[in-house]
Symmetry: C2
Subunit: 464 residues, 2 copies
Amino acid sequence: MAGQPVTELQLRQELDRRFEGYLQELLEFLRIPSVSAGDERRGDVKRAAEWVARRLAAAGLEQVEVLPTGGHPVVFAQRLRGRRPVVLWYGHFDTQPPDPEQAWEHPPFEPHVREGRVYARGASDDKGNMLAPILAMELWLALAGDLPVDVKCLFEGQEEIGSPQLPELVARERQRLACDLVVSADGGQLSEQIPSLTVASRGLCALEVEVRGPASDLHSGLHGGAVANPIHALCQLIASLHGPDGRVRVAGFYDRVRPLSGQERALLAEVPFDEEAYRRQVGAVQLFGEEGYTTLERLGARPTVEVNGIQGGFQGEGIKTVLPSRARAKLTSRLVADQEPEEILELLRRHLEQHAPPGVQVQVRPLGGKARPYLIPHDHWGNRVAARVLEQLFGRRPVFTRTGGTVPVYELFLRHLGAYTVTFGFGLPDENIHAPNEFFRLASFRRAILGHALLLGALADQGG
Amino acid sequence: MAGQPVTELQLRQELDRRFEGYLQELLEFLRIPSVSAGDERRGDVKRAAEWVARRLAAAGLEQVEVLPTGGHPVVFAQRLRGRRPVVLWYGHFDTQPPDPEQAWEHPPFEPHVREGRVYARGASDDKGNMLAPILAMELWLALAGDLPVDVKCLFEGQEEIGSPQLPELVARERQRLACDLVVSADGGQLSEQIPSLTVASRGLCALEVEVRGPASDLHSGLHGGAVANPIHALCQLIASLHGPDGRVRVAGFYDRVRPLSGQERALLAEVPFDEEAYRRQVGAVQLFGEEGYTTLERLGARPTVEVNGIQGGFQGEGIKTVLPSRARAKLTSRLVADQEPEEILELLRRHLEQHAPPGVQVQVRPLGGKARPYLIPHDHWGNRVAARVLEQLFGRRPVFTRTGGTVPVYELFLRHLGAYTVTFGFGLPDENIHAPNEFFRLASFRRAILGHALLLGALADQGG
């Protein structure tokens, strides 16, 4: 470890002195309506990138650069002194759209502080979280004149639209981005009391299946019973995808799925989770999923095939006695390690074609949006360091969670940089991200800054 | 039989003398744009009713009356002399809309005679056919001074919109409409060479099924695998309705279905039908239906359950990873004798509710449009008489066909008047009914008038 040794007390005191100023900076950051969806706010996303670049430079980062991507930009910075490990911080400065805007109590891009919370679009996801490591680095540089590890930063402006240009950028810039570990400042903790580290996210592949029957819509009286109905055929196909036990019945689908070890099941069982509260939250009459697995296992460690949309025939009010010409459905599959999107697409295509009922033609078309699953060993050194810091912050050890959603960027870093990503965000589940009245707790903002500062030191102790 | 005996030769000669005048009257009738759909042509439908009433009176019918229905009117007339049988003629003077009007070679309500055909909306369906029995009665009254049987007429102005007020009218006027037989002047023959009598039409009932899962749309990544997907559940329900053998798997569904006798199958087998031409016509890769039945049996003598429309979740382009809150489908069942629409609706409701997969709620809502199936014994005396007349006209015996469609009015007459309906129309399959450039052959118009005239005499010989 280089520079002056810095204690937790020093960091806390320095943060206390600067906190009001940091909050004002967060509010300034939040005033930039950097909505990445659509074209309207393109200039504001760019403005947010420039704001981030300036702030990185002001904090003491070097070689700060706004990288063009062909879409919304990405900000890079680094401070390298030949130390180990080299750690890449990741986050994003774009936001979800504020719609429906009339549901906000205060305008979404006019941040409003009340009762220890700052309300604004992007407050939690991800500007508050993303700003924290920059400020943590500034604290270190102020107190010790240096950073305890070599640092790189990659903050992007297109996360909320699926980071369309990021894969190409990461592949192209793999030299510049090379690192031993990624720390993601995008994400959250289980609750104010219970810290957590996310160790897995699911991959994704998508397809559309179209069933074609007669050449045009027919009268269901004059032809019904003699000509196969593509809606029936499509429903039979979809019904064939699952067994009554909730398992996917596509041949080979589970072949590459890593079975949950006893330890992994024990770790998931430690995550506080109220099944009945979850059932009430989603509003289902009962929960349903693959037999032999708990809800958290189903969500975090088991793959799915899900129909996201179906349509065929008459959609209006009343009846229209049509035997439709075609029917179609959109399917996505959420993947877990070590399933491959391309391979699963092929298995699904084969299943759907082979199960085509008589009298119809089945056409399968893969859709974009492929992503590999991500899984970091819970005892990876990065997780061990992060867990110690979270224990310092929360007074208890973190639980290891898995998200059912898809975070393509982690797998991207693993594939191109060979580096695992540790999730180190401080959002909380009630903060209305992607919804009206998004907010971030000032306590979380403070905890995030201190957390990243402690992590910098702890990573240096680790040595990589 | 009363009045002067009249021979076929006399009828033919009298028709020849009058035919040019009758054609001019048909053209006048066709110039009234009596479109029953929508409100625009309400006055024209009334004008057509008045035209029909005047023509009935001019022909020598008595107690001619335009009956109000609350919707489009109905024209009634009779000529009773205490003879048997009492025969009620049925037909309709309303037409389909002419859309798309620009596809017509001549304006749809400016009839155009060319190469032995009269082109106009309603020429075949049903004005040309409906006018024929009135003119046939006139021929008899001119030649014999009387009609050989007691006659009633019921011509309606709302057939093309499903005769919404007719059931109530027939029920209310059952005394006035009382008869031994109904002759429907709406319908057609198999070809110019092959006469046919339609002995069956299928009934109908309809329902909507909605499957409800979570209270609102969920993210399919964050929740997929733990919450039942209503599209999956709906598809399972729909798949459960049929076996791979094409049979409906709803308990009790076939209980009241009259099995086809050997003779009925033989009669259907006599109907000229080219399976391969039919397959090409509908444009399916192969025909598919209930095992053990021919295509004509499937269409005419076997009931169906058909999904007419399905929708759920995301319908747009690309992907949206939604686990939808609900999905729904519209189903119709085509019924054959002696299935009851209400009972089948109840069986379907029970099946759908009992097969509800775990985690969702199933709601079944019956839709309007119930109709009973209709079946007249092929050897009913009315059919025997009509068959003899058709043999006179075509030089060969008719085949007995069944339509897969629904003609609620025949069952209505059977239920309220206790009288079967004999189909005696002279439309041909290529006449573009319900489409642009509808036409009627002058030869068919002449054959129709002569046919109804011969039928009047033949029914008198029968005596009821």
